[in-house]
Symmetry: C2
Subunit: 339 residues, 2 copies
């Protein structure tokens, strides 16, 4: 019931744990530097489906299935699924989780959806209204390109500020059953609009929101960057991460280089073809956090991390109507517990 | 902390109240039989904006502003906004609430989004993590037509099973401060797919989900239809409501005619032009509930009602790819408290 400031939920009193995770990585993601950290590594982003959308839905299902297996539960043990994706009307989530026949709550904050899902899923478990909640998101470079920019087949050239939408999906089972990774805090972000209009500059559109949410989290909890072994943003990419450092510095905050990173900067090797400024997409923060960072919490490399997923709030229609691209970011704190 | 069954949250222990509501109705809705129940009645669905989308965003802002005024709060008193709309990537919600500069959680379950927002908003207040939450949704017939079917300007003919997307927006302030209307239970629905493929038959696509959620709610709470003065679904329309009665009857349940109704059947007079099987859209259930039904709770006509908003889970892309249209429905129970 504790309430820290206006935007952070302290969930330590009725603790919420991560009981199991599942991650699916597309071909380029599987070949990247974190490839070995993912459960399912695809060698073909289409799998054997008739459309990219159906492939993404299948990835979502696979991630949920894997998370349930690792948590030793079946769908009947799951009280509710919370998640989202980048497709209009959340067809990735709803079609991807339909077969589990469980209550479902779709959320959308673009690529920040995983932290929105974690916040709400954890709150439901925290209150005791559910024993187990599954949270998850997906994205697919080929469904996202035609959703937000041009169909891949069109072959549009991209500037170096562009980011590659991660193909993949990730899911986690949250429960009250004690385990090594505890979800301790959720900070809900506000819409922050710096007036960016180019859909090729997502990092610039989202960095101000990440800055706003990180500062809010530190104010609300009384913590500093030094209290975290790692603070990661969702998918600012290399350029957005540089902008975030600049925004923090303007506010007198200068985190050590190794203490602040970005999932979009981590997921690809700059030598991989056409990864531009790094990864983005609803699955970027999800599979890096659940696949890569959670392994470092489990092996003791990290004791406490903060993950602030970042979303760019544009649609085909808003871009065509020359609207700006506001950003939003929600932050989740995880801690290693010795159980 | 009580937990009834697997899908209903009992929120009575730390009670959540409706402190104020705001409703905006488009031209056709304002001329309908419930017209006098809405706060802002438009005589022009475009207001004075350059696009239909911007008009919808303005309606959303107006609904939130009105709800805050009636609850005697300003945006600084609001901890978080929870809501959604039918536009791809929730631009109605995010652009419509951007100016309030408050934490925001976008949700999507098509026209069931208002009950998803009420469930999550109430849960946040219930836990004590927020003092005040605003929930709301919007829809606009002209933004929805081009999102889901054809642009209005195309002049496509519609079959009698079609429904008119409600133009309007509604918002409510939820808080722990005691007032006449209490939100007591939330039942989270599952995705239910009866294989409907026509975007002109939303009532048929959603009725099975409404049936599933209503039965789940009654099972979880041990209540029957007789425990409610009125049970309303969100936007099944006249045809969908008939299908719901049939589905209930197949399960041996035959509610009295006056005890089961539908917001989409209530909002228009069948004599109004081009309203077909009735209203639909994210704002349909919202403005009928907040504008019309809450007045009947306040004046004592009703003591207890159940509102089960209904959503059809289709997108332009899923329709083009010949996917089915699954439905989902979430139910919220409201009670009059003599304070």
């Amino acid at each position: 019931m504790a309430r820290l400031g206006r935007s952070t939920w302290d969930l330590q009193q009725n603790p919420v744990y991560v009981s199991g995770v599942g991650t699916v990585a597309g071909q380029v993601e599987a070949q990247g530097p974190l490839g070995q950290d993912f459960d399912i590594r695809l060698d073909n982003d289409r799998i054997d489906d008739d459309t990219w959308e159906h492939s993404e839905q299948r990835m979502f299902s696979q991630a949920v299935q894997t998370a349930m297996e690792k948590a030793h539960v079946t769908s009947e043990d799951v009280d509710v699924l919370v998640g989202g994706d980048l497709n209009a009307q959340l067809t990735g989530f709803y079609f991807g989780t339909r077969a589990f026949l469980r209550p479902a709550l779709g959320v959308y904050s673009a690529c920040a959806s995983i932290c929105e899902s974690l916040a709400l899923g954890a709150l439901i478990v925290h209150t005791g209204h559910a024993q187990r909640v599954i949270v998850g998101t997906s994205s697919h470079t080929s469904t996202a390109e035609r959703q937000f920019r041009y169909p891949t087949e069109y072959g549009a050239q991209k500037p170096p500020t562009a980011q590659r939408t991660v193909t993949g999906a990730g899911a986690a089972v949250l429960s009250r059953a004690s385990s090594t990774i505890q979800l301790t805090h959720a900070t809900i972000g506000s819409v922050v609009d710096y007036g960016i209009k180019s859909p090729w500059e997502m990092g610039a559109a989202m960095a101000p929101a990440a800055c706003d949410t990180l500062l809010q989290h530190l104010r609300d909890t009384g913590r500093t960057f030094a209290d975290y072994d790692l603070v990661v943003t969702g998918d600012l990419g290399h350029i957005g991460l540089r902008l975030l450092r600049k925004l923090l510095l303007e506010r007198g905050i200068n985190p050590e280089p190794e203490r602040l990173n970005d999932c979009g900067a981590l997921i690809y090797d700059a030598k991989q073809p056409e990864v531009f400024s790094g990864g983005s997409g609803g699955a970027c923060c999800t599979i890096v956090t659940f696949g890569h960072l959670f392994k470092r919490l489990l092996d003791g490399t990290y004791k406490r991390i903060l993950v602030s997923a970042t979303g760019a709030l544009l649609s085909t229609v808003s871009a065509q109507q020359s609207d700006t691209i506001p950003g939003i970011s929600h932050a989740i704190a995880f801690e290693r517990k010795d159980v």
